[in-house]
Symmetry: C2
Subunit: 346 residues, 2 copies
């Protein structure tokens, strides 16, 4: 297939990724893994896993078995945990792959034992009521004979100062008291900043590895990893009163120089950016105007008379601020980044 240069880029900062991992790891003495599910939150799991593994990360968490298979040539299979559990039909493939299942239900535990057992992780539900073995299901016999590496649970409200955090911590300790495991793990990115009580032997951040600010106190220390840029496809001079884009939602309040750049909601730059998005070039900030199209965005270039067709502009993509202005979560801002970007790692 002929290889064209994509007109939009995701600039990914490998040093910032590693710095974030080290910062999160450095909050305590626990080991620090990495959630790389959903293609490493949209950044590209293979490149993320290579870099974090080189930096010393030894535990990777994905949601699906297919996600484990997609990185299993990069790291020892036993360092990959699959969060979303197992079913009977896929056990032969799981054995072949060698990644470690996270068992979420008594049935999954029985299934795993019946299939011969081996290393596994166990998810306890300490209060999110989503995946995991609940308090009423933990009779000791269930866990007999299991070779448990990580006994884990997941926090629902670690990004808030909520009483639910301490309650989940207490539940996790209580439910897990009689269960033998090599390591325990509770904290996601935000949970790491709740204090070392939440760390146990292993933490497993995701969002903040990739530059997301999971709690306000991280804002100064977590570095952005993702930067977006797009090529200007066309510039034009518009008169006062002319309308721009779908449904003519923007009317020029004065003569304006407008540029159309190669980025749209199909790339994850959703219509929620209309009215609040912006681009910049040589430190000059230029507002996005009108509706976001599927493949295109229009920008007021008036303060940048030098910008011309073929030039590139950076797109403002501060995760925390964009989340406030668009109503999308920082997670969605990452995981919806599409497949048309050229992903450039530095």
């Amino acid at each position: 297939m002929i290889d064209f240069e994509p007109p939009l880029r995701l600039h990914l900062d490998g040093n910032a990724l590693i710095a974030n991992w080290r910062l999160l790891k450095g909050q305590g003495v626990a080991d620090c893994g990495a959630a790389v599910k959903a293609d490493a939150y949209g950044l590209g799991a293979r490149e993320v896993v290579k870099r974090l593994h080189n930096a010393g990360c030894r535990d990777f968490f994905v949601a699906h078995w297919g996600e484990a298979a997609a990185i299993a040539d990069l790291v020892p299979a036993g360092s990959i945990s699959v969060l979303n559990g197992i079913n009977a039909a896929e056990i032969p493939l799981i054995r072949r792959l060698g990644a470690i299942p996270v068992l979420n239900t008594p049935d999954q535990i029985r299934l795993w034992k019946a299939a011969g057992g081996g290393a596994c992780n166990i998810m306890l539900d300490s209060g999110i009521n989503r995946l995991g073995i609940g308090p009423a299901q933990t009779e000791a016999a269930l866990f007999d004979g299991l070779e448990i590496d990580i006994l884990m649970s997941h926090l629902a409200s670690a990004d808030e100062d909520s009483g639910q955090n301490a309650a989940q911590l207490a539940n996790f300790v209580e439910i897990g008291r009689e269960i033998r495991a090599k390591r325990r793990s509770l904290a996601n990115s935000a949970g790491i900043f709740l204090g070392t009580d939440y760390h146990f032997e292993l933490t497993r951040p995701g969002l903040s590895l990739y530059g997301g600010i999971a709690r306000p106190e991280m804002a100064e220390s977590i570095q952005p990893v993702v930067r977006l840029s797009a090529r200007i496809l066309q510039t034009r001079q518009l008169e006062t009163g002319e309308r721009v884009g779908y449904n003519g939602t923007f009317t020029c309040p004065r003569q304006m120089r407008v540029g159309t750049a190669s980025l749209g909601y199909a790339d994850g730059y959703l219509r929620a950016f209309a009215g609040n998005g912006s681009a910049y070039h040589h430190g000059r900030k230029m507002p996005v105007i009108g509706r976001i199209s599927m493949d295109l965005v229009t920008i007021d270039l008036s303060i940048s008379p030098d910008l011309k067709e073929g030039d590139w502009v950076d797109i403002v993509y501060d995760l925390a601020k964009a989340s406030c202005s668009t109503g999308l979560s920082q997670y969605e801002l990452l995981t919806n980044l599409g497949t048309r970007f050229e992903r450039q790692w530095t």
Copy 2:
């Protein structure tokens, strides 16, 4: 790579796709092309192009050259138009590929001529002020010697009963009066329903091919093409007062049976579905409860005591209704559908 069965599916109805194309084509006597940019609005461009080509479609529109290259083995390259224009560096590759550029600016026209010309399409800007040659730029000499197949423009407000539609139609006719081209094209899905004045020789729908309702009068005739289903990973019984999901936003008002299914915002099922999404099984509709997670969604299964772990549920995904309830456009609901689905065509 070991091939696991994905726990979430996009069921794609090839007959509905073709029926929609025929319906749109049948609104007049013009030929009917297909917008297949953004991976055919998230459905998968290769499968869409094969099916529409078999049905008789002979004009395919993409945004990027990379998108043209990705389907160029399926149809004659000359039947693919690339909407987002050209730049000097990619002309040798464009020549090799053979797909047809849509020239959007005087500079692009001069570039194409200087590179030897050949078949091209021209985008006129009749009022959306996004891409295309504006009224002030159409001196006759610019078009001399061009071998223009399609002279086109794009409607900004075809989904509304807006005066802008007639104004754009008049502008298109006026600006294009002196430009010689084999065919003219103005109408997208919604534009087709503005009447045959808008059809010229070729229409080029996108959204409604894929089941989107671009104008209310299409609601009865356009067929849904996309259906979502997800595997239930876990079920649990919850007591009154227990909280579900991130930040515990949902509190059980009674004893409930809750299921966690394999679908999340990383798959395009955004958090905007919280509080209004639902699943169904054997005609029973079951509300989505709590926040949508990255890879998971929780569902009130109380009315479906028979549903168990490993079973599949359908996810309600009526594009027009979901657009109203989530605030996302029908286009975004399609183009954000992620890569983890198994795309099953019937």
